[in-house]
């Protein structure tokens, strides 16, 4: 069963630090591959930190690990992810005549998935 959320990709200072350390380093890769979910949404959906979810948007699908947003930082119904490879996969090519693809505030369907096994 899936539920519609609004995804907000954005900058974080940890992501910025990671860019400087290197885009193949742990700091950067760790930051851009975690999805922040509001604590209320996590409780309602029965998910905990470390669980995985699948996000499906109009232009793509990603599987991503969940972490809890800090208290009050994210209202229920919104998701946050640091800019990077995963958030880019959900962006479409149409810029509506502006040069800018819609990169924030787009709808995604969230469904829980089994945690991938580490191979």
């Amino acid at each position: 069963m899936s539920e519609t959320f609004i995804l907000i990709p954005g900058r974080t200072s940890k992501q910025g630090v990671g860019i400087n350390e290197g885009k193949y380093g742990e700091t950067y890769l760790g930051e851009i591959t975690k999805l922040q979910v509001a604590p209320g949404d996590m409780e309602r959906l029965g998910i905990t930190e470390g669980d995985w979810v699948r996000l499906t948007g109009e232009h793509g699908t990603i599987d991503v690990e969940v972490i809890s947003a800090k208290k009050d930082e994210l209202p229920e119904g919104l998701l946050f992810i640091a800019y990077g490879d995963l958030s880019s996969r959900l962006m479409g090519g149409d810029t509506h005549g502006s040069g800018m693809p819609t990169s924030k505030g787009f709808d995604v369907e969230l469904e829980t998935i089994p945690t991938p096994s580490k191979s």
Binding site: T12, G16, E21, E73, L74, D94, G97, G99, M100, K104
Partner: protein, 456 residues
């Protein structure tokens, strides 16, 4: 303003004073660097991002040039890159926000010689604001004026606590200024955002606007500025915020002596895009019927403002410029990098100091991976990994001198800390420019520089 750098040197250890950080648009030029050989060990006064910038840019142990994944000389790389660009029919030159304005200038020249497109990361940053500037104009000021005068500081869709960590302390909130002698106590800070960011925690007033309703929120304020009566229920439905909250904000805006709105990609990347920026610029203009009010985009990369300025003063347009016909044409959505790639139009590219293979949408990335392109970066990135020719370059500001533009369009000189064995962007670009001119037979007798056999 930076003072003349004084360096004390003992053996390998030296201190470079008033160095310039080029990580974000604040371009702080008051950093004291302790340098040990090819490593910066301390960056006094730098923020968390600036510290990471300075302490992680020692010399990368990689070849200065790779062609198709194999080490090559820089001269071979310049030749190969020039052949790719000169023989393409619709080349794209993109990036430019993390290099010097001297390099940006040469990159625009190359685009002209080869009849290509030049676009910068502006187009996926504040490009929509650039469109809005042309439609509305920009009532603005320098960050120094904000520091000395601003008593109502608003941030709309911008989170400087994470993206520009010294913004508050150096320019907008904390400093004691000429007309705000008590610093933070003399200023009111308002944050409008869809989530309660770290910046919201520093604000006096946080207004949680409904997602994708910035345009409606800004027009609500425009109406209130004009004294137009609004329906409370409709306003709440449109913006997710009570009309009384908007009215209270408008009262404060009118009562301010010097109001400032900093806006970010919360406006430009979301539904509405340039229409959001236009609404904010128009609101700022409207407020000057009541008091002094200015606005400023909180621009991200160290020299993205320079890229905007340089492309503008070289072509007349700030980004997304097509030079295929021998004269510049500007059309966001047609000549911007994301579009040219996502539609599969460009047949070659040169990517300077940016990483579209990590940050662009999937159709654009897939097309970029399918064409020959040249990449410049001090570090290995997804873009350099897929490049036909990848140059490992010296880092601007740390190894390379030159000029960058702060987010308020103030040009600032760089004070490098140590030399790199890798070439600078500028050196390679000058080499490519010289060679593509030879390949295009530009400058030979009887050949006009505007000859464009590959015009599209």
């Amino acid at each position: 303003m930076a003072t003349v750098s004084s360096e004390s040197q003992s053996d390998q250890l030296k201190v470079v004073t008033d160095a310039t950080c080029t990580f974000c648009g604040c371009v702080c030029d008051d950093i004291d660097l302790t340098v040990d050989g090819h490593t910066i060990t301390k960056a006094k006064r730098a923020c968390v991002l600036g510290t990471a910038w300075f302490l992680n840019h020692d010399v990368d142990d990689r070849p200065s040039c790779m062609i198709k994944g194999k080490p090559a000389t820089v001269e071979e790389g310049i030749e190969h890159a020039s052949q790719v660009l000169a023989n393409s029919r619709y080349p794209l030159i993109y990036g430019l926000s993390d290099t010097t304005s001297e390099s940006q200038r040469v990159a625009v020249s190359i685009a002209d010689w080869i009849g290509g497109i030049v676009d910068t990361t502006t187009s996926v940053c504040h490009g929509p604001s650039g469109m809005a500037f042309q439609g509305v104009g920009e009532v603005t000021c320098s960050l120094g004026e904000v520091r000395n005068r601003g008593d109502l500081i608003m941030f709309w869709g911008s989170n400087p606590a994470e993206s520009h960590p010294r913004h508050f302390t150096k320019y907008s909130l904390m400093p004691k200024g000429m007309f705000v002698p008590n610093g933070r106590k003399d200023r009111t800070c308002v944050v409008v955002d869809v989530r309660k960011t770290k910046s919201a925690n520093a604000a006096d007033i946080f207004i949680p606007i409904k997602p994708r309703r910035d345009f409606e929120g800004l027009w609500t304020l425009r109406a209130l500025a004009k004294g137009i009566e609004l329906d409370p229920a409709q306003t709440l439905e449109d913006t997710g915020v009570e009309l009384s909250v908007w009215q209270d904000l408008m009262d404060r805006m009118k009562a301010a002596k010097f109001g400032v709105i900093f806006f970010g990609m919360g406006l430009t990347m979301t539904r509405g895009k340039h229409a959001n920026s236009e609404a904010l610029l128009a609101l700022t203009r409207d407020m000057n019927d009541h008091t002094r009010f200015v606005c400023k985009p909180n621009r991200g990369h160290g020299n993205v403002t320079g890229a905007y300025n340089v492309v503008a003063w070289r072509t007349g347009y700030p980004f997304g410029v097509n030079l295929a016909r021998g004269y510049p044409r500007f059309n966001p959505g047609e000549y911007t990098a994301s579009d040219v790639l996502a539609r599969g139009e460009a047949d070659a590219a040169m990517i300077i100091a940016s990483d579209p293979m990590a940050n662009f949408n999937e159709p654009a990335r897939q097309h970029l991976a399918s064409i020959p392109y040249i990449a410049f970066d001090p570090k290995e990135t997804p873009t350099t990994r897929h490049a036909e020719v990848a140059f490992t370059v010296a880092t601007y500001g740390i190894n390379v001198p030159g000029t960058v533009y702060r987010m308020d369009d103030v040009p600032i000189p760089l004070r490098p800390a140590f030399e790199s064995p890798h070439p600078s962007d500028l050196q390679i670009l000058e080499g490519i420019e010289k060679r593509v001119k030879e390949l295009k037979a530009i400058g030979l007798a009887g050949q006009a520089s505007s000859l464009r056999p590959n015009a599209v």
